[in-house]
Symmetry: C2
Subunit: 431 residues, 2 copies
């Protein structure tokens, strides 16, 4: 901390779970905080797959950053995209100007990684942003619309085959949710096809799904998925993804819809900071979450490589990002007040959970493993609890409850005119 | 009706209020119904302005056509855009094929008319579709974001000036709603600007706002708007709309946001049917809503010019479209059953209503004129009642209630990357 008269300027890049937690932890500190994000909202990413499968609307899981901080007067929000960081001058360069910092907190999250096959992105969108979710929703719903207009059984089968690549929580939740969409929600909506004929194939390169969970829960989850009609294939590497087929393990599967849930990467940090990054672009940080050699820069959330235990890193999940944000915020607040620096960061693992459709979930919480309906209820409660941190959880709860009771999907809208062009491109003319 | 063995085929173009009512009236008739629409949802258009001002989400006011008819097995839904109609062969040509009809019901609604100045569309979007509403929302919210990034007071004033052209119900409701967004909802969200400084200007070419209402109610509405801080200008013709100013009545008003709520037109019908249309493209129909000379074609809703009383036409409002759809459905059902044709169509006017912000509305119902808070409550009840016809009105009611009580705008999301480009284009770099 330099001995100057003005209040220290804290710049936070990104308003995800980590960035928000850091800003909140600085609430009563004698500092000025600037949050820079390229979007005007905070996104509750763990529920994004439910937007993709039309269970929730974007507004159910996203909140304007400004309204989250309207009462916290030491926070300024700048809607802009970061272009570079000048660590010498301590300045963030962004599309709408420059922001000087005394402390910089980088919490810019991760994006999809196609393991070097970036051309797969067009045929297999991932699920990180709201536009991704509405795009996946559009593709899934349009596949049924195209199938309804097909004459040829082979064309219909191709339209009704959905391949999900990657069986982490997102892939598993997505597969379960698409299976329910096809086999329950849409079951009476079509006249020429039977949505029950839809095939949902979940591919995983590793030996089992949900590898971060105990083996017994992976097995339970796989059983639940099979009951919903999902074909689970483990130990299969995807070799090719085209717009009308996927090649995996030497087999060609005709499928007009593929969704990517396999890998993540962190962009830009090596270039911006001139520091070391790991294979996926994360910055290895010190125990106090600072970047080695750059004491005024901290990295948190998905973008940080933080040592945990048994040689493992802290996982890239929302609770970890929140804990790291809170820690860095408190550390900087203590410094600004001239107080003693807190002890090094320690991650407290809260457990893992994933849901499989309307009735089943799996939960690993310390020594407790739960699965089935009780776990599903618990999953819902946990998510409502976490949403309370932001706003209007009651609406999300009501949307779920209504979907559960009425089996309706109120958000099943295909917006934008691309819908039609997609039909035109794929379906042969009929008389 | 030809003397053939198969069931008559009824094709309906458009799933708005008229098209839905017609299909529902054919529920138990011995006919096959095909609804052709270029979108997969029915839109509750009277509340579209609330999506534009972030009170509601698109999914609150739109419902998948397929789910509305999932139980009515004589209805098929085709997602396709109509290209032409062959009235000789009785065939509708659309992007995904052809549909043969015995009876055709045209219910394709209206679009914006810029009175020949179509180049205004880019600078002053209208409000007919969901994409229009999210575009208007984006422009309004981005204007505040740009103002927050401005240094120059003149630039700030231009960004914070909103011009609404046309003071029918949509223009009035939009102006009231933007005024509340600026003066109430956003009041604490910014640090460098005061959203209270925003100017909302409502322009009307005619001598008074809401010309379809009794004069006393127009005056009440104008008073309510002024209380909300809206500048109302009547008898003013707009001469020019550019991206940074509007010229009206000889005066140049610097304003970076303009919204069009002035005129409608009906497209394509003259060309498709080879029949007469009026100045705005409507088809004058017979008392049984058939097109003169084309007994197998009926036109309903905004697209039909239907004589009412005192030389007036039936107004282009949702209840009129519903009544016409129901009438034509019943007429065709009677014919299919070999029953007597019903008496000619008679429009029952249910009254007019418009709301101005959170506390005020005006209602004209027969000889009853209501205004103020009681009218506002009545307005809410009426809309909830009409929504029951579709689905989940409880959610809309709760969204309203929550917005009312908490003054929150949960749907205040700027989606898509265009947001940023807009900032970049308009705002001078700052240090």
């Amino acid at each position: 901390m330099t001995e100057i008269d003005r209040r220290p300027r804290i710049v936070i890049i990104g308003a995800g779970f980590g960035g928000l937690a850091a800003a909140k932890a600085l609430k009563n500190a004698p500092v000025d905080v600037e949050i820079i994000d390229k979007r005007n909202y905070h996104l509750f990413q763990p529920l994004l797959y439910q937007v993709a499968t039309a269970d929730l609307s974007p507004a159910d899981i996203a909140w304007p950053i400004r309204s989250i901080f309207s009462k916290q007067k030491n926070v300024t929000v700048t809607l802009s995209k970061v272009l570079d960081i000048d660590t010498e001058r301590q300045v963030v360069l962004h599309e709408n100007g420059e922001s000087t910092y005394d402390h910089l907190i980088i919490a810019n999250g991760s994006s999809h990684s196609y393991f070097g096959k970036d051309h797969w992105a067009a045929n297999a969108p991932g699920l990180k942003r709201i536009v991704d979710a509405t795009e996946v929703r559009r593709r899934v719903l349009m596949a049924f619309e195209r199938a309804e207009l097909c004459e040829d059984p082979e064309d219909q089968a191709r339209e009704l085959t959905f391949v999900i690549v990657g069986a982490g929580p997102t892939g598993v939740e997505l597969a379960g949710s698409i299976a329910e969409l096809a086999h329950v929600t849409l079951s009476e909506d079509f006249r020429r096809i039977d949505p029950d004929d839809a095939r949902i194939i979940l591919m995983e390169g590793g030996p089992r799904i949900l590898s971060a969970f105990p083996e017994v829960l992976s097995a339970k989850a796989e059983e639940s998925l099979r009951k919903l009609g999902v074909e689970v294939r483990t130990g299969v590497m995807v070799e090719q993804i085209e717009d009308d087929h996927v090649v995996a393990g030497g087999e060609t599967i005709p499928a007009s819809t593929a969704i990517w849930a396999a890998g993540v990467k962190i962009e830009n940090l090596k270039q911006w900071l001139g520091c070391e990054t790991d294979r996926i672009g994360r910055v290895p940080v010190q125990p106090d979450l600072r970047v080695p050699g750059l004491p005024s820069v901290s990295v948190i959330g998905d973008a940080a490589k933080v040592a945990w235990k048994d040689g493992m890193d802290v996982p890239g999940v929302a609770p970890a990002a929140k804990q790291e944000g809170k820690y860095v915020g408190r550390r900087i607040a203590a410094e600004a007040r001239g107080e003693k620096a807190p002890a090094p960061f320690r991650y407290r693992h809260m457990g893992s959970l994933a849901t499989i459709g309307r009735n089943s979930a799996i939960i690993s919480f310390g020594k407790i493993n739960l699965s089935g309906f009780v776990a599903w209820l618990f999953w819902g409660l946990i998510h409502i609890y976490f949403l309370i941190g932001v706003k209007r959880p009651i609406f999300v709860a009501m949307s779920w409850f209504s979907n559960y009771v009425f089996r309706s999907k109120g958000s099943r809208l295909i917006t934008g005119m691309e819908a039609l062009r997609a039909v035109r491109a794929h379906v042969p003319k009929r008389r």
